[in-house]
Symmetry: C2
Subunit: 361 residues, 2 copies
């Protein structure tokens, strides 16, 4: 097991990464405020891991409430959130009850937002079971739900007390989900860690073959990058926005097709290629750089072209992005490989051209 720390003063917390961690009561129990827990999971993950995890806690005297939700990004909405609230109230969960998210990014975001808002905030633990959640969404306290008019529009910054990344859960992860997680792993290399980008190019086959050592290394390196950024800028007033490379384009893909049609990581991959193409058109990257990025996503089993929506549709959805300021679209672009920047001065014509160059027609 490796342990990292997210340094946020009184709200600092550990990230444990390793095999078999869902069986480690010694890691979970000291983080509970009272022997009361509510575990939120989904219909895919629950049959695999919920009973074992619950039983482990119950054997230590914890009263456990189980809340199982439907699986998929299309359920990351107010209706599903209400199911969590209803279950917490029906089971008389209190302020000292710890909410535990056992699942991927959708479960973490939903359960985290429920924890942030139930009785004005109850303790929260992340137990991510997908690569995407282990390398990205479980760390840093972003929680929330989608709104019909935009992704993650309703939410809160709410830090967990603990992130428990059990790498054994990746053994049952569908291939497509593994690839989706790799999109966010590649992101860290592109925005701030060129040596890691090199390593990923050399080790992508091992990662897709689920080599335990390679996966652990990639998760750890991703979490180190994420923890450093979050410690510097918890509420995304500055550098944290760099983590959204490809996400503004990606959100347009997800919203434009309807949530759940593409996985988040898939949309981020195609969106990142658009951001790279735009960076090339602005004179920062060269064609070889863009090809290198696209090749790495393809090696990871990810799409590198967006769906055939019109550029107008893309721009319409992008205008709803949370990074819009004073009516201007702020985009994360690449000045060079390993160096991301935020710019609000990309000409619309260039954005449009980059979208069209990277879309299926």
């Amino acid at each position: 097991m490796r342990t990292l720390k997210v340094a946020l003063g009184a709200r600092s917390y550990p990230i444990h990464i390793g095999a078999g961690l869902l069986g480690r009561g010694d890691l979970v129990l000291p983080c509970l405020k009272a022997p009361l827990a509510a575990i939120v999971s989904n219909e895919t993950v629950a049959p695999l891991y919920l009973a074992g995890f619950s039983d482990m806690l119950r054997a230590s005297g914890v009263r456990v409430t189980e809340i199982v939700l439907p699986d998929g990004e299309q359920h990351k909405n107010g209706r599903t959130l209400d199911r969590i609230y209803d279950a917490l109230l029906q089971n008389r969960c209190e302020r000292a009850t710890t909410l535990i998210a056992l699942g991927g990014g959708v479960i973490g975001d939903l359960a985290g937002f429920a924890a942030a808002t139930y009785q004005r905030g109850i303790p929260f633990i992340q137990a991510p079971t997908t690569l995407l959640a282990q390398v990205d969404s479980s760390v840093g306290g972003k929680t929330g739900i989608n709104h019909p008019l935009g992704k993650n529009m309703i939410g809160a910054f709410y830090q967990p007390r603990l992130v428990l990344a059990d790498t054994d859960t990746l053994k049952t992860l569908p291939e497509r989900e593994l690839s989706a997680g790799l999109a966010e792993v590649i992101k860290y290399g592109l925005i701030r860690d060129l040596p890691f980008l090199d390593w990923l190019e050399d080790n992508m086959a091992r990662l897709r073959g689920r080599d335990a050592g390679a996966l652990s290394h990639a998760i750890e390196r991703s979490c180190i990058n994420k923890a450093e950024i979050v410690a510097e800028d918890e509420t995304e007033s500055g550098v944290r926005a760099l983590l959204n490379l490809g996400h503004t384009f990606g959100h347009a893909i997800e919203a434009g097709l309807g949530y759940g049609a593409w996985l988040h990581g898939e949309a981020v991959a195609a969106g990142t290629v658009m951001a790279a193409e735009l960076s090339r058109r602005l004179g920062w990257l060269n064609e070889a750089d863009v090809s290198r990025i696209a090749a790495l996503f393809e090696q990871a089993g990810l799409p590198v072209r967006g769906p055939a929506l019109s550029a107008d549709r893309y721009l319409e959805w992008m205008a709803l992005d949370k990074k819009v300021a004073a009516g201007k679209l702020r985009l994360v672009l690449l000045e060079a490989l390993g160096k991301a920047v935020i710019r609000d001065d990309a000409p619309e014509s260039a954005i449009r051209a980059a979208i069209e160059a990277c879309c299926h027609v």
Copy 2:
């Protein structure tokens, strides 16, 4: 104008109290992050004050979105909250847009929760227009909505940047609402400010006659008490719970009758008499103390007996209170006039007897 401060480190903010403050752009404009504002009000307050307040801001170059909601506690729910989200998104409000609550406690709670959760948090200003909101709910950062299974069950602690209490707005406040606000004013005297309790007994007629000097003094003294408590315990892990004197009984009345049947302050008044009666049965107050409390609420035009629900119904709703810990009901009781305490050891038989003694049969 008098100005107090809520001391919360980097999140400290001023409370301005005085006549004509809704016209004071010099107080509001420096608190805006950008010249963008969304004002949330209700169908009762908007016709009186919204246009003037909006025009004042627009004249200073602020782009203003107006969101007018139905009036009443029965609308403090997820459906009304969604109307705020929808309007913010439809009007392309961004992270730098300041949300301003112009109204009473319901508007402040709803708009504050929307501000806490829209795009994971946007700047927030309270412009309370009822006595209850000016003396209590606009100060301290409690925001939230009701759930069919309990009052204020969903919410967040989210501090405003400014509280602007324009005492002129009390001139149009219905008599019943004025009385409801006085319930929370009396609360401060009972829990920690015996000299203020004496003053209230001497000046209740002036307050009900809307004497401007008396009202200003009562608001200021209430806010001083509230600000001291909030500075000491922002998230209610300790002393802040004392502010809930009468509220656990009161919430049972509100929920038991359906939100909106009784005003919050009315339920708190009757609930406080129950808490006082229970305190007497536990040997702390004498009969004269309880009579003195009831007489003051009556002088304020408030009910001192609860509705005719069975004690079982009361206890059922009280068990859902947020102050429940380890399954035990925690009640705010009075050790003496001017001295409240939190106890979790009141025998159920005594609670039941106090309810029955203070209910209509």
